[in-house]
Amino acid sequence: SSDDASKEDTVGKGEEIELSYVAWDTEIASTNVIGKVLEDLGYDVELTQLDNAIMWEAVATGEADGMVAAWLPGTHGAQFERYGDQMVDLGPNLEGAKIGLVVPTYMEDVNSIEDLTDEAGQTITGIEPGAGVVAASERTVEEYPNLEGWNVQTSSSGAMTTTLGQAYENEEEIVVTGWSPHWKFETYDLKYLEDPNGTFGEAETINTMVREGLEEEMPEAYQVLDQFEWSVEDMESIMLDIQEGTDPEDAAEAWIEANPEKVAEWTEGVTAE
Amino acid sequence: MPKVTVENLSKVFGKKEEQALKLANEGKKKSEILERTGATVGVNNASFSVEQGEIFVIMGLSGSGKSTLVRLLNRLIEPSQGNIFIDGKNVSKMGKEDLRNVRRKEMSMVFQNFGLFPQKTILENTEYGLEIQGMAKAERRERAEKALDNAGLLAYKDQYPSQLSGGMQQRVGLARALANDPEILLMDEAFSALDPLIRREMQDELLDMQEKMNKTIIFITHDLNEALRIGNHIALMKDGEIMQIGTGEEILTNPANDYVEKFVEDVDRSRVLTAENIMDRPTTLKIGKDGPNVALRRMEQEGLSNMLVIDDSRKLYGYVTDSDTARAVKNHEKNFDNILRTDIPTVQKDTLINDIFEVIHDASTPVAVVEDGKLVGIIVRSLVLGALAKDSEVSL
C-alpha cells in the first residue's frame, strides 16, 4: 500500500516477517488480523498456509517467525511436546476455547458424556488421526465405563464437518469431536457434553508461538505478537464474515477498522510516535 | 457354372470413396486418384471366374491389391462396387447371418503368418471353426483330429503353435481351414514365410491335396515360380488392376503388355512349358493300311530317317527306320511286323520340358507325345531348345 520510502519511516521498516497457519477457520481469522496489524506497522508480512504439524515444525526450525494457532494444552498437545522447547510460548491470544464431545441439541437426552449409551452407532466421529481432540476422545472412551464398545472414527476436519452436516439435516444422532471457536456452532445448534472426569482437560487456550531469536531480531514485532489477545466473540464475527464469502484479508481489515481500541492495545508501546 | 465369379469388383480405401470410384471407373490411374482425392484404390474393376476344382493364383508385387482382392471374396473387406457370386449366390449382397454361414461352411482362409491363436493348442486351433458353429465337443474333436492326422500332425495336437516350426504351423493353418470341409480355400501368401525347402514341400502337399479333395483354391503369391508351379490359371495384378489372366503358358508366352513381360522375364521356362506346347504334328504310318512301300516313299519325300506307326484310333505301335523299310521292300514284305521297333520313348502331353530333357537326351529317335495311349505329337531336339530360347513364341 505504501511505497518503500515511507516504509523506511515505519516501525517495521519493510522487514520481512513470516507467519504460518493451518487452514482452520479460527486460524485464518486470527492470522489475517494479526498479519494485517503488522503490515500496517510497516512489516512485509507473509502468511503461509501449512499442514498442522508442518506449521509447528516450521516455527521450531525458524522457517516461520511465528504463529497464533497453538491450541493448548489438548489439541496440539503432541506437537507442543515435540517442539515446545524449540520455540517461545507467548501465552494465550484467546481464552475460552474449548474442546470436547459435541452433539446436536436435538439429542435432548444426552447432556453429559455419562449419558451416552448406544447413540450414533457407538461411534465418535473424529478428525485427523493423531490430533489432540482425537487422542482426548480415545482417552475418554477408555475412562468412561459407559463408553465400552464405543470407537473413535478418525478422518479429517473436513470429513467430520461434512458428516455432521449430513446427520444434522436428517436429524440423525451423531457425536463428534468438537472445538470452539468453530463455525459449526454458528451454523448448527450444537452443545458440548459435560465431561465430569475431565478427560478433555479444562478450557483450552489458543497460544501464540514464535521462533527463538525473534525477540532480539524484531523486538517490536515480538512485542505486538506478545500483546495480541482477543475474545471468542471477536474471532467469531470475522469467521462469520469469511463464511459468508468475504475475502479473509478484507474481513480482517474491516474488523480492524471497527475495533481500533483493541488494535491499539496490541500495538501499545511500538507505534512510531 | 463357375464356382466363383467376380464382376467389376472395386475397393477404394479412404474418405472420398464415391468420387475416387468414379474416377477409377473413368479409367484413371491409382496414383492420379490418390493425388486428386486422397483415396487409395485397393482393387480396381476386377472381373474373373474360377471353376470348381481349380487352383487360381493371384500374383503381383507388393501393394498391387492381392490381399485386398482375396479379402473382398469373403467380405473381410466390404466391396466399394461389384458383385461376388459363389455357386451363383451373390455374396456381396448377403445379410450378416448368411455371410456368416458362407464363411463357416463354404470358404476358409489360410494366412501368411499362419494366423494361429497362440493361446490355443494345435487341436483347439483346428477345432476353432467347428466350435463356433456350435458343434458338440466330441464330434468336433474327432473331425479336428482327423484333419490333423491328414496333415501328419496328430502327435503334436497338444502343443502350442510357438512350439512348432514354421512349416508345421502352416500345415496346422491348412488343417484348420480344411477341418470345416469348405468348398473354397483362400490362401494369402500362405507359403511366403517359409524356408525354400519347406516351401517346396508345402507346394507338393497342396497339389496332392488338390488332387484328392478337389477343392477350389484361390492362392496369392508374389513368387512367379510358385504361381507357375501350382496354378491352373494365373491373374497378374498391378496397381489394383488385373493386367492379365491366363494359364502359366499363356502369360509366359503371350504377355499382355510390357509390365507382364518384364515380370516373367526371369522365369525358368522349362518348368512351365509342357510337351503339348512344343510338340510337332507327327507324320505317321497307319498299321493295317500302309505298307513298307508307302512308308519308304514317304520317308524319301519328307527326308525322314524314321516314322511312327499307329492304328486307326491313333494308338502308338512303334516306329520303322528307313534302312529297315528299304530291306522289307526288297524282301517284298507286306506289313511292318518284322521291322517294327517298339523302343520308342514317350512322354505325356502335360510333361514339363524340364522332365523331357533326360528322355530326349538318351533317345536316338524323336520322342512321341501321347495322351491316353494315343499319339498326339512328336518332339525333336530342336523343338525343345527353340522353346527355351527367350524370344520364341510357342504356339498353343
Partner: protein, 279 residues
C-alpha cells in the same frame, strides 16, 4: 487486463455445491444401501484376514511368491522379511485393513473398467466420450472429491474405496482398450474368416490375447489404489494410511517411515506378483 477483470466471476462454486447437495439428496437411498452393504462385506473380509495367524499368512504368501516366480527365491525371501517386519512393528492389523481396501478398490475398478475398456475398443463414440472423463478422473486432485465421497458414503472404508476407484480406474480402462486394439489384425481376420460372431470373437480370441496388456493395466490400477491409501484414511479408511497420517500430525518422522515402509513392502509384493501372473 482490466477487460478480463471486469467480467463478473461465474458462480461455478455455488452451482457445484448445489448440484452436490441435490445429488446427495436424490441418491441418498442408493448411497445408503451401497454403504451399509459394502461396509459389511469389507469388515467381514478384514476380519477373515485377521483370522489367519500372521505366521501362516507369511508362509502362504511366501509360497505363492515362490511358485509364481518360477521357483525362484528372491521374491519369496523378500516377502518373508518384509511381512515379518510389518508384524514386528505392530502393524499387522493395519496391513490387513489396507489389503482389504486395496483388494476391494481394485476389484471394483476391474469390474467397471474392463467392460468399459471393451466398449471403448469397439465404439469410436464411446472412446470419444470416455477419454476426457478418464483424464478428468486422473488429474482432479483426490482432495477435492473427498468431501463429496463423505457426503455420499459417510466416513469409513466405503468412501475410501470410492475415492480410490476414481483415481485407480483409468489404467484398467485404458489398457483394456489398448489390449483389444492391439490384437493382431491377422488373428482378428482369422476369427472373422471362420464366421465368428462378435461375442465369440471377443471371448475366444480378443480377450485371451489382450490378457497380458489388460493385466498390466490392472497392475497399474492396484498400484494407484495403494497410493490412495493415505488419502483414503483422511475420510476414515483404517489401515496403514491412517498410521502415516497420524505420524505426520505428530511430526514423528520415524513412525511415519515405519508405516510407509510397510506400504512400500506391500506395494512391491503386489506389483511383482501381478506382474508374474501377467506373463
Amino acid at each position: 487486463m482490466d477487460f478480463l477483470d471486469n467480467i463478473p466471476k461465474l458462480p461455478v462454486a455455488e452451482n457445484i455445491e448445489n448440484f452436490m447437495d441435490w445429488i446427495t439428496d436424490v441418491l441418498e437411498p442408493i448411497f445408503d444401501f451401497v454403504q451399509s452393504f459394502s461396509e459389511i462385506v469389507m469388515e467381514g473380509l478384514t476380519d477373515l484376514l485377521l483370522l489367519v495367524p500372521p505366521l501362516l499368512f507369511i508362509v502362504l504368501i511366501a509360497a505363492i511368491c515362490f511358485f509364481a516366480s518360477g521357483k525362484k527365491f528372491g521374491l519369496a525371501a523378500f516377502s518373508i522379511v518384509g511381512l515379518f517386519y510389518v508384524q514386528n512393528q505392530g502393524l499387522w492389523d493395519d496391513l490387513m485393513s489396507t489389503i482389504t481396501l486395496v483388494i476391494v478398490s481394485s476389484l471394483v475398478s476391474v469390474i467397471i473398467g474392463v467392460p468399459l475398456g471393451i466398449l471403448m475398443a469397439k465404439s469410436k463414440w464411446a472412446n470419444t466420450i470416455v477419454t476426457p472423463i478418464l483424464d478428468f478422473m486422473q488429474t482432479m486432485p483426490a482432495f477435492v472429491y473427498l468431501i463429496p465421497a463423505v457426503a455420499f458414503f459417510g466416513i469409513g472404508m466405503v468412501p475410501g474405496v470410492f475415492a480410490s476407484v476414481i483415481f485407480a480406474l483409468p489404467p484398467t480402462v485404458r489398457f483394456t482398450n489398448l489390449g483389444i486394439r492391439q490384437v493382431s489384425e491377422e488373428l482378428v481376420e482369422a476369427a472373422d474368416s471362420f464366421g465368428s460372431t462378435g461375442s465369440q470373437k471377443l471371448f475366444k480370441v480378443e480377450l485371451p490375447l489382450a490378457k497380458s496388456t489388460i493385466m498390466a493395466g490392472i497392475n497399474q490400477t492396484v498400484m494407484l489404489a495403494l497410493s490412495m491409501v493415505v488419502i483414503a484414511s483422511m475420510i476414515g479408511a483404517p489401515g496403514l494410511g491412517s498410521q502415516v497420517l497420524s505420524s505426520l500430525q505428530r511430526a514423528q518422522v520415524g513412525t511415519g517411515f515405519v508405516s510407509g515402509l510397510a506400504l512400500v513392502i506391500l506395494a512391491i509384493i503386489i506389483d511383482r506378483l501381478t506382474q508374474k501372473f501377467t506373463k
